[in-house]
């Protein structure tokens, strides 16, 4: 017998976790002598009150969709890919090389090539930990953490010694040619008659992220491979007995995961900065974990959770601008969301389950 209805599991539990996280954050704001209601108002008007705000919210959300989907796919195979940060760093390298080395006549061709390069570079960076997990039993969490640091060192080296244009002091690559610049979301919406602010960083990558979300949904629930990934995640022994090759599933799940994380770089590197910077990932790889947990590892949930975190990110920037509250408040909220939806999930889930059991018993 199900302990509680499905809607409670997918909707109520994350919602309660979120409310607890927000309440504690509110207490933190009170503790530092600020007004939580005012803070919330600044965040909502700043991030959602104008199409300009939405442009930033959706830009951040795009990053989190990619990394959140990446974490989810690995989670379904019961692999915890904590290396989204490193995989996205490498993805950025792939995008930058494609945009710098080839004179693209049109952005659409550059985008197609960047997708391939970003996904391939991200996947390669995930492949080594995946192989070590599958073949040598090295714990994938530890190896992916190590690969995050190795990626950061590698990128630092390449930017300082190889990609930095002569005479430039900052560790960043040259600017990409204007023909590689991706269309802005504002301009695209204006073209079809929807008014939207110009000059926001949201770009066509948002559509790409949504396509990826649908693709992940189809893959996981409507293909043989997705079934194999999910069975492997539920019970490795049963999956193996059913003839599912554990090495293959571990590799494939991590390659897809790394590829998705890598594609995040299209949004930041090609869509916004138009050059490769030292820290273009900005922790989005880690936020992917929060997004995946919050979204219950379902692509639809991931998209919603990404928009929520996009709102928090843009709202955090507004807070830092208009109030005395530093934007690190967002890091606190993020930690609390991960804590309550992930690690302390059982604490939230139990009372809800008990409530439903009692109601069922009464009937």
């Amino acid at each position: 017998m199900e302990k509680m209805p499905r809607w409670a599991d997918v909707l109520l539990v994350p919602l309660i976790s979120l409310i607890i996280a927000f309440l504690i954050s509110g207490l933190v704001i009170l503790a530092i002598g600020q007004n939580p209601v005012e803070a919330m108002r600044v965040m909502v008007t700043g991030a959602l009150g104008s199409s300009y705000g939405w442009g930033y919210t959706l830009y951040y959300a795009t990053n989190f969709m990619f990394t959140g989907l990446a974490v989810s796919v690995a989670f379904h195979a019961s692999l915890f890919n904590i290396g989204g940060e490193g995989q996205a760093t490498l993805g950025g390298l792939g995008v930058a090389l494609v945009c710098l080395l080839i004179p693209w006549p049109h952005w659409s061709l550059a985008l197609a090539a960047a997708i391939v390069a970003a996904a391939a570079f991200g996947a390669i960076w995930a492949a080594i930990p995946a192989y070590l997990q599958a073949k040598r039993g090295s714990h994938i969490v530890i190896t992916t953490i190590m690969f995050n640091f190795i990626a950061a060192a590698l990128l630092n080296y390449l930017l300082v010694n190889v990609l930095r244009p002569q005479g430039s002091m900052d560790p960043a690559s040259a600017r990409f040619a204007p023909t590689t610049n991706l269309p802005e979301l504002g301009a695209m919406l204006n073209a079809v008659g929807i008014p939207f602010a110009k000059g926001t960083p949201a770009n066509i990558s948002l559509l790409l992220a949504l396509v990826c979300a649908v693709a992940v949904w189809v893959l996981l629930w409507h293909t043989r491979l997705g079934f194999e990934i999910r069975s492997f995640g539920k019970s490795q022994k049963a999956a193996q007995y059913a003839g599912i090759n554990p090495v293959r599933i571990t590799m494939v799940a991590m390659l897809i995961s790394g590829g998705l994380a890598g594609m995040m770089a299209i949004n930041t590197v090609q869509g916004e900065a138009n050059r490769l910077l030292l820290n273009s990932v900005e922790g989005a790889g880690f936020i992917g974990i929060a997004v995946a947990l919050m979204g219950r590892n379902h692509p639809f949930g991931v998209v919603l959770a990404s928009i929520l975190f996009g709102f928090l990110y843009q709202g955090g920037a507004e807070l830092a601008l208009w109030t005395q509250i530093p934007r690190e408040l967002i890091t606190v909220i993020q930690g609390l969301v991960i804590l309550f939806t992930g690690a302390l999930g059982y604490m939230v889930q139990k009372p809800v389950e008990a409530l439903f059991m009692r109601r069922r018993g009464a009937r």
């Binding site: 070590l132 040598r136 190795i150 060192a153």
Partner: protein, 320 residues
């Protein structure tokens, strides 16, 4: 490279290895009891902040130290709640606590001191002073051994000696006491410990809290060394300590070696930047990444195999 430079390098190796060693031993206790802890970084960070802040308020480094330990213990307790009582995912809990520490430290230091996320400088009694061992100045003139004693062994703060003393102490506690046997057993086969009538939960909580105390020492050491708290000042040392723990195969004496090695790499990276070997140049980024690369190689089992405690990461369920 002359002798004085070598002594200087080794001296900074000891300084840089100390926080790693404290955090590594912290992780050792936790993981030997079957609780994975990737939250070492967060605990060190919040301890560094709390110890710096309270050292500023009180003017005493000891009050700071206690505050640092208390803050670190608080996170340890949450980690224990999540991974022992509520049987949550220990890795996710660690990630969450790292974020919490990273955000809270900046938020609180900005609101308490308004210096953009750092604390005022620690001066005088708010910092650990360097201890000059007896006769250090007298023997400095003795060739070779004199400088080794006076400049390398003498002249560190108390926590350096504490950290070094903790290595044999941990080895003794883990391998020669009843508590140590139970702690290791809880990490390998908790059901057996339970059957023997010993509380798995109590032992695991004890291990997690020991981990909190040691991370508190590590954070306080960092704050005192830098004479202030700065945002993200642990700079990944918690993860390096985790790497050292794997490198050391979860053993105290190996932990000392691993931490000294990683401390040495850090000292080399700081002092030499790019190393020109004539044939080719070793970039500083490679030296910085080397601890992580070495750990992956060890984990891969190509050079000696690192086998984690068998029950690591799994919550213990008494009845099914």
């Amino acid at each position: 490279m002359d002798f004085a430079t070598i002594i200087q390098m080794l001296d900074s190796t000891v300084r840089l290895a100390t926080p790693l060693l404290l955090a590594c031993l912290a992780g050792l206790f936790s993981e030997r009891a079957g609780i994975f802890d990737i939250g070492l970084e967060g605990k060190m960070l919040i301890a560094a902040f709390a110890s710096a802040a309270f050292a500023v308020f009180s003017g005493s480094v000891w009050v700071g130290l206690l505050a640092g330990i208390a803050a670190s213990l608080m996170l340890s307790f949450i980690h224990g709640m999540a991974s022992i009582t509520f049987r949550g995912n220990q890795l996710i809990s660690g990630v969450a606590l790292n974020f919490l520490a990273s955000g809270l430290t900046v938020l609180l230091s900005q609101s308490w001191f308004g210096l953009g996320g750092r604390t005022p400088s620690l001066e005088g009694a708010a910092r650990f002073s360097e201890i000059t061992l007896p006769f250090a100045d007298a023997v400095r003139g003795v060739p070779v051994l004199g400088p080794i004693y006076a400049d390398l062994i003498s002249g560190h703060t108390i926590l350096v000696y504490v950290a070094l003393a903790l290595v044999p102490a941990s080895a003794w506690l883990l391998y020669s006491t009843r508590f140590g046997l139970r702690l290791r057993a809880v990490g390998e086969n908790p059901a057996a410990v339970d059957t023997a009538g010993v509380s798995v939960v109590a032992i695991r909580y004890a291990a997690v809290l020991i981990c909190g105390v040691l991370c508190g020492l590590a954070g306080a050491y960092l704050a005192s060394l830098a004479a202030q708290f700065g945002r993200e000042m642990t700079a990944g040392r918690g993860y390096i300590a985790l790497a050292a723990l794997i490198f050391a195969k979860w053993r105290p004496w190996y932990a000392l070696t691993a931490c000294l090695l990683f401390g040495f790499l850090d000292a080399v990276a700081i002092r030499f930047q790019n190393i020109d070997l004539g044939v080719f140049v070793i970039p500083v980024q490679f030296t910085q990444a080397l601890p992580y690369i070495l750990t992956v190689v060890i984990l891969a089992g190509f050079v000696g195999k690192a086998i984690p405690p068998r029950a690591g990461g799994e919550p213990y369920v008494k009845e099914r």
